[in-house]
């Protein structure tokens, strides 16, 4: 019997693939048979991810999303794809009193503008197949809960979720599905931002019913599901994966 979770024959584009959830997603998608184009700023770290991918024919696309023309360039470089995963993201911890235009714009640029506009161009240029799947790595932050000093990130992730729901409706005629994953804290370089001590993180971990943070692959497996035909009737959802954190 054919495995409905298989990604065999699918070409998938992943941003933020040089570390954390994006990297784990690339590794797990490759195991499920996908052909990958992985993207990030740092070529060497991207090559590290590439070396960990099973299967043949994967390639890297070095892209600095702070560059003005980057969206056009990336869209031009990409082949026809069956799925895209927006895993690139940034944050900066600042209490609300210290929010400023520059940081707000930087965070929204990477977390919201780029994934949205990149998806838009791919759709418009018809470089994304009918029945394709678009997955945004959103967050429980902003959507379900908030944490102190993280308002700009939370707002950007709410914006992503709102956009994804509307995209799901507008792209439904082409059977393109659009979904978000909302992870809790996942053990990646991203959470070690220098704003919190290890002691504070250890204390925070105890608030999770499952008593630990997530592993990147535990998010990646959900991405595999959302990219695969197993989720053919799933669109516009926000899948919370948080060790039970938001239940309490």
């Amino acid at each position: 019997m054919e495995n409905p979770f298989s990604l065999s024959g699918k070409t998938i584009f992943i941003t933020g693939a040089s570390s954390g959830i994006g990297k784990a997603t690339a590794i797990e998608c490759a195991k499920m048979g996908a052909q990958l184009i992985i993207s990030a700023r740092n070529k060497n770290r991207l090559l590290d991810t590439l070396s960990e991918l099973v299967g043949e024919g994967h390639r890297i696309l070095v892209a600095d999303f702070n560059n003005e023309r980057i969206i056009e360039d990336v869209v031009h470089e990409l082949p026809l794809i069956d799925g895209m995963v927006h895993a690139a993201g940034i944050t900066e911890t600042r209490p609300f009193h210290f929010v400023n235009k520059k940081v707000l714009e930087d965070i929204f640029h990477i977390n919201f503008n780029i994934p949205v506009l990149l998806s838009q161009r791919m759709v418009k240029e018809k470089k994304i197949n009918n029945k394709a799947s678009i997955v945004f790595i959103s967050s429980i932050d902003g959507n379900q809960v908030v944490t102190i000093g993280n308002s700009m990130y939370a707002a950007s992730k709410c914006a992503v979720t709102g956009m994804a729901k509307n995209m799901a409706v507008d792209l439904a005629p082409r059977k393109i599905r659009v979904n978000c994953i909302c992870p809790g804290m996942v053990e990646t370089p991203f959470i070690h931002s220098d704003s919190f001590t290890q002691e504070q993180l250890d204390e925070d971990m105890k608030k999770y019913p499952l008593k630990r943070y997530g592993k990147p692959e535990e998010i990646a497996w959900a991405v595999v599901y959302l990219l695969s035909d197993a989720s053919a009737w799933t669109t516009g959802t926000q899948l919370v994966i948080d060790g039970g954190f938001t239940l309490l």
């Binding site: 911890t93 600042r94 209490p95 009193h97 210290f98 400023n100 102190i148 000093g149 220098d194 704003s195 919190f196 001590t197 290890q198 002691e199 504070q200």
Partner: protein, 71 residues
């Protein structure tokens, strides 16, 4: 130092201004919280262009020890 103390004090709303001295152990101020800590870190970054890591911040007990990071 005087200017730094003023900026440090402005992260507080209820604490009397004369509490803030170089030797003040700021974590013992009742109004101190982890949010105040993040405010102090943001203030130092914005006004002195120095990013203090939470692990380093933890080592400082007095306002003067904090000031030593930015001198």
């Amino acid at each position: 130092m005087e200017e730094f103390i003023k900026k440090f004090a402005s992260q507080f709303d209820e604490t009397e201004i004369d509490i803030f001295k170089p030797e003040t152990k700021f974590r013992e101020i009742p109004e101190w919280s982890s949010l105040t800590g993040l405010c102090v870190m943001s203030m130092i970054y914005d006004d002195y262009k120095i990013r203090i890591k939470a692990e380093d911040m933890k080592k400082a007990q007095t306002i003067e020890e904090l000031y030593n990071f930015i001198k």
